[in-house]
């Protein structure tokens, strides 16, 4: 045998050996078809599993705070039986886990389900029971509408031997989520507790006269809708047609916002009996409305104001006639009696006016000046702001930027929550503009409206205010 031949034989021998190695068992075991494959005992520390042999199911309760990803069960088997995973092996019992017992030539599968012995038995805030998500260690509790979120009283029932901080019975500021720590003899676990006003937990509706939100054709309305959907993920688009057809249940919404910019005259469907009735019912059940630009006119049809007391000065330019002011930025003046109203929170006052004015529209931006406000001292028999309030039932929150009061114009107004009715806010000045149209001469995009953030902030304040009503 020369060297080369020898290496060939070695190669053959190695290959044959590898081949043997791929067999999954050695041969020759005698058949054993009568042995026991029952799990006789399944324990984790001092916890004893409950074994249902007929169903092949084991349930076990583990101490509060146990690490379910590293559980070490001890398993007792009949003589000769093996189990996989083996007794004493660390396993993850976050989800049900299959154990397989083999004895001779018989096997049996067991499904082991582990549950944590809870420490928090009940968590209440302002009398409402919270939902405990143990896997996320989070609690969410929905508190009654209008609750003062800075003064939420919690009550907690705990298992024996457990304690919680902050303690049960404490009044807590829930403006932001609060961490509670539960301690037992063996564990310390943090829970993130969130309290939400029941209205803030509801979805919001953006109303329009289009089949879907994507079908909106008016650029101003589309910009408003996109901002809302981004700012409030719970936003749902609702068409007037859906209300008419009864395919939408408005009661699930905390706020309905209609921003109508396309037509000075509201579409016929807004006056359809079914639509008006549905929205009136919504409002009567505590639903809140935000009506902006031409949609402010709806207050009359909905009976929020008496007949003929809706906005009496409605105007604006058609698309293509957009223009720049070039001299003055536009905005509104805050009625000093309502300077602390939440709709104005955080809005910057311009320093170039002797009274509080918030700019909404940059002088360089092209605008159509879509306006739907009330002329107070000239038309409608109101005489002054007091007369307007008396005749409309509204609160004159803001006037025009050219005046420090609302005797000449009411631009932002509220009809407060009362007698079970929800609140309504209207925003009407021509400066409340979501989209700067392109230069009509060149088609070039308009210079940006540097005050658009104020438009957004005013709207967000309004929605946040309404959803808490």
């Amino acid at each position: 045998m020369n060297r080369f031949k020898f290496s060939l034989y070695i190669l053959f021998a190695v290959m044959s050996f590898v081949y043997m190695g791929c067999r999954k068992e050695s041969r020759g075991t005698d058949l054993n078809l009568s042995s026991s494959v029952d799990i006789q005992q399944f324990t984790v520390g001092t916890s004893q599993g409950k074994i249902d042999s007929a169903k092949g199911a084991i349930s076990i309760n583990l101490p509060f705070g146990a690490d379910f990803t590293k559980v070490v069960p001890n398993i007792a088997l009949a003589a000769g039986a093996t189990v996989n995973p083996v007794s004493g092996a660390s396993v993850n019992l976050t989800n049900p886990l299959q154990y397989r017992v083999i004895n001779g030539n018989i096997y049996k599968d067991y499904t082991v389900t582990a549950k944590e012995i809870p420490a928090i038995l009940l968590f209440k805030a302002q009398g409402d029971t919270g939902v405990i998500d143990e896997s996320a260690r989070a609690i969410k509790v929905v508190v009654p509408p209008g609750s003062d979120m800075t003064q939420i009283k919690v009550e907690v029932q705990l298992a024996a031997g457990a304690s919680i901080t902050p303690a049960s019975g404490t009044t807590i500021d829930f403006t932001n989520p609060v961490v509670f720590t539960v301690k037992t003899a063996t564990a310390s676990v943090n829970y993130m507790v969130t309290a939400i006003d029941v209205n803030a937990d509801k979805p919001l509706a953006f109303l329009g006269n289009y089949a879907t939100g994507d079908a909106i054709t008016n650029a101003d309305e589309m910009a408003a809708y996109r901002w809302m959907a981004t700012t409030y993920p719970k936003t749902e688009y609702v068409s007037l047609n859906a209300i008419k057809n009864g395919t939408v249940n408005l009661s699930k919404y905390s706020v309905i916002w209609w921003h109508e910019d396309a037509t000075q005259t509201l579409p016929d469907i807004a006056f359809d009996n079914k639509v008006v009735t549905a929205v009136k019912n919504y409002r009567a059940a505590g639903g809140n409305l935000l009506l902006t630009t031409f949609a402010a006119r709806w207050v009359e049809a909905l009976g929020i104001v008496p007949p003929f007391k809706g906005p009496n000065n409605v105007f604006g330019d058609p698309y293509g006639k957009q223009w720049q002011d070039n001299n003055n930025n536009w905005g509104f003046s805050i009625n000093k009696d309502h300077a602390k109203h939440p709709v104005f929170t955080g809005l910057p006052l311009t320093p170039d006016k002797p009274y509080p004015v918030v700019y909404l529209l940059d002088k360089v931006a092209f605008r159509l000046n879509h306006c739907s406000w009330w002329k107070v001292n000239e038309w409608g028999g109101y005489v002054d702001a007091a007369g307007w309030r008396a005749q409309t039932g509204g609160i004159d929150l803001a006037g025009p930027d050219g005046s420090d009061n609302t005797n000449s114009n009411v631009t932002i107004a509220e009809w407060v929550k009362s007698n079970g009715n929800g609140a309504t806010l209207v925003i009407t000045p021509g400066s409340y503009d979501w989209f700067a149209e392109p230069d009509p001469a060149t088609g070039a995009p308009s210079p940006a409206n540097s005050y658009l953030p104020n438009v957004q902030k005013l709207t967000q304040n309004s929605i946040d205010y309404l959803r808490k009503q």
Binding site: L8, M15, V18, Y19, C22, K24, L33, Q98, N105, Y107
Partner: protein, 515 residues
């Protein structure tokens, strides 16, 4: 000496075949076979006498079956996988009985880097007078249309005996470049004498107007090769190219076969009462799954057979990807009154499994046992398995599936270890839910399906099953109607079993046979 090396390597490699879980060094010739293989691939061969060449092993690509002189001449694209610039010469097996194959080596070699046939593609053979005429695809990736030289062309060779072939250097059929034809897709000529039209037809796989097109040429004399382009025989936007088309008359029906590698990687068929259509697509138009490709029909005058190839997988492991080339696989075809086709096991192959082997249970659930030749699975949500002794060699497992409850799933498992692993095994699944049979590797988090085709397992019916395992090729036959071919490297040397879940299933008349 060289012969001895080859034999030693060959023997070692042969033993390696089927080894799955513990392979350290995959051997590239794992499927080297001998002439007694049911699903052969090309063995390494030392040609003695006047043909003193050593021919390395390789794999079977597109098969071009031709019946003559009491034998099937199974020309095929030889996939040597040796890294050579040229590839896919036409090699040949011959067989008289579909169970014993003679390997005849190279029939038409590939050319040089400057020839149109640096690589060969599929074609077909037609006999004109005393001359056999082979039309074949020539492929040269160095040509891109510049200088009038295109990548895809059709070439021709002739022979008087089906063994010695002379290329015809004067014949060159270039791809169409106008009228919406795509000259990059022009291959797989199929030539036959159309008795309905009294002329020769050539089908070519191509594209017209961005649709898959079975192109059509006609002529009166294939030796002269004066082919005339006609309108496409068939077009579809469902697939990219209708590869390896074939038109076959059987009784009163014409069958158009083609293989698509854009949706399912399988061979499909259409039916018409005329050779020119219109073509009807059967509800179930697959002849097998993705592990039987480029299939074509040939008849010995009595029976009709389907010849295709079962791909190997990269790395020769069950989780490898589908390769080009593999093993020759043969099914029998029968037809129903409405013209639809059944796929079954050739009786000669079935008859060769004559040795009844014992059914030895190696592992069973506590509540399930083998009663005679019957296994009754109770209603359980989780899968129950009953495992039998390891498969060693060629096997045919027969069984009848019955008493299937609605919602249930059942089938075979292969590559099982005695501890009944939860993953890393192969499953042939029949389901009452999804209307599919599937061959799949069970892995986390979900199985990887290799091959599947529509088949509805219905409660209240019986299903006669044959599962054939030869090397790593597994073919599942159901009711002599449906076949699903798969590649399972772990089938041999490991336990096999039956399983059921989500309902009750009875499997009776269970038997295992060997050669």
């Amino acid at each position: 000496m060289i012969k001895q090396i080859a034999q030693a390597l060959l023997a070692g490699c042969f033993l390696m075949s089927g080894c799955k879980k513990n392979d350290i060094t995959p051997i590239a010739t794992a499927d080297v076979n001998n002439k007694t293989d049911l699903y052969p691939s090309a063995p390494a061969k030392w040609f003695g006498g006047s043909n003193p060449y050593y021919l390395p092993a390789g794999f079977v690509g597109d098969v071009m079956p031709y019946y003559a002189n009491d034998s099937f001449h199974l020309f095929y694209l030889h996939d040597a996988r040796n890294g050579a610039a040229g590839f896919h010469p036409w090699n040949k097996f011959t067989t008289k009985n579909l169970t014993e194959y003679n390997y005849n080596g190279v029939m038409i070699p590939y050319g040089s880097a400057t020839d149109y046939d640096l690589a060969l593609g599929t074609g077909s053979i037609v006999k004109v007078g005393d001359t056999y005429c082979a039309y074949y695809s020539g492929f040269n990736p160095n040509f891109n249309g510049s200088g009038g030289k295109y990548r895809d062309n059709i070439l021709m060779a002739t022979s008087k005996d089906l063994n010695n072939w002379q290329k015809n250097p004067s014949f060159l059929m270039k791809p169409e470049t106008t009228n919406g034809y795509n000259f990059w897709e022009f291959r797989d000529p199929y030539i036959f004498y159309n008795t309905e039209k009294n002329e020769y037809w050539m089908l070519v796989a191509g594209q017209k107007d961005n649709q898959a097109a079975v192109m059509l040429y006609t002529c009166t004399d294939p030796i002269k090769g004066n082919w005339q382009l006609k309108d496409p025989l068939y077009t579809t936007s469902l697939y990219k190219v209708p590869e390896t088309p074939q038109l076959f008359k059987w009784g009163s029906y014409w069958y158009l076969l083609f293989s698509e590698n854009s949706a399912t990687n399988t061979t499909r068929y259409r039916i018409a009462s005329s050779s020119s259509g219109p073509w009807t697509t059967p509800v179930q138009d697959q002849l097998d799954g993705a592990y039987m490709y480029a299939s074509k029909i040939a008849s010995d005058g009595t029976n009709q057979y389907l010849f295709g190839w079962c791909p190997t997988k990269s790395g020769f492991t069950d989780m490898g990807n589908r390769d080009f080339g593999g093993n020759l696989v043969t099914h029998r075809l029968t037809k129903n009154a409405d013209g639809t086709l059944n796929v079954s096991m050739p009786s000669s192959a079935e008859n060769i499994f004559s040795t009844q082997l014992p059914l030895t249970v190696k592992l069973r659930p506590q509540q399930v046992s083998l009663d005679g030749n019957t296994v009754a699975f109770p209603n359980t949500t989780n899968a129950s398995y009953i495992l039998f002794d390891r498969i060693e060699g060629k096997r045919m497992i027969t069984a009848t599936i019955t008493d299937v409850s609605a919602g249930a799933e059942t089938g075979f498992v292969l590559g099982m270890d005695p501890q009944l692993q939860n993953t890393n095994f192969y499953r042939l699944r029949l389901s009452t839910i999804d209307g599919l049979i599937a061959g799949e590797e069970v892995t986390n988090p979900k199985p990887r399906v290799d091959a599947q085709l529509p088949f509805n397992l219905a409660p209240g019916k019986e299903y006669k099953i044959k599962l054939v395992i030869d090397g790593s090729v597994c073919v599942l036959y159901i009711n002599d109607q449906t076949a699903l071919t798969t590649r399972v490297y772990s089938a041999n040397h490991n336990l096999w079993g039956l399983y059921a879940k989500n309902g009750t299933v009875k499997i009776k008349e269970l038997a295992v046979k060997g050669w």
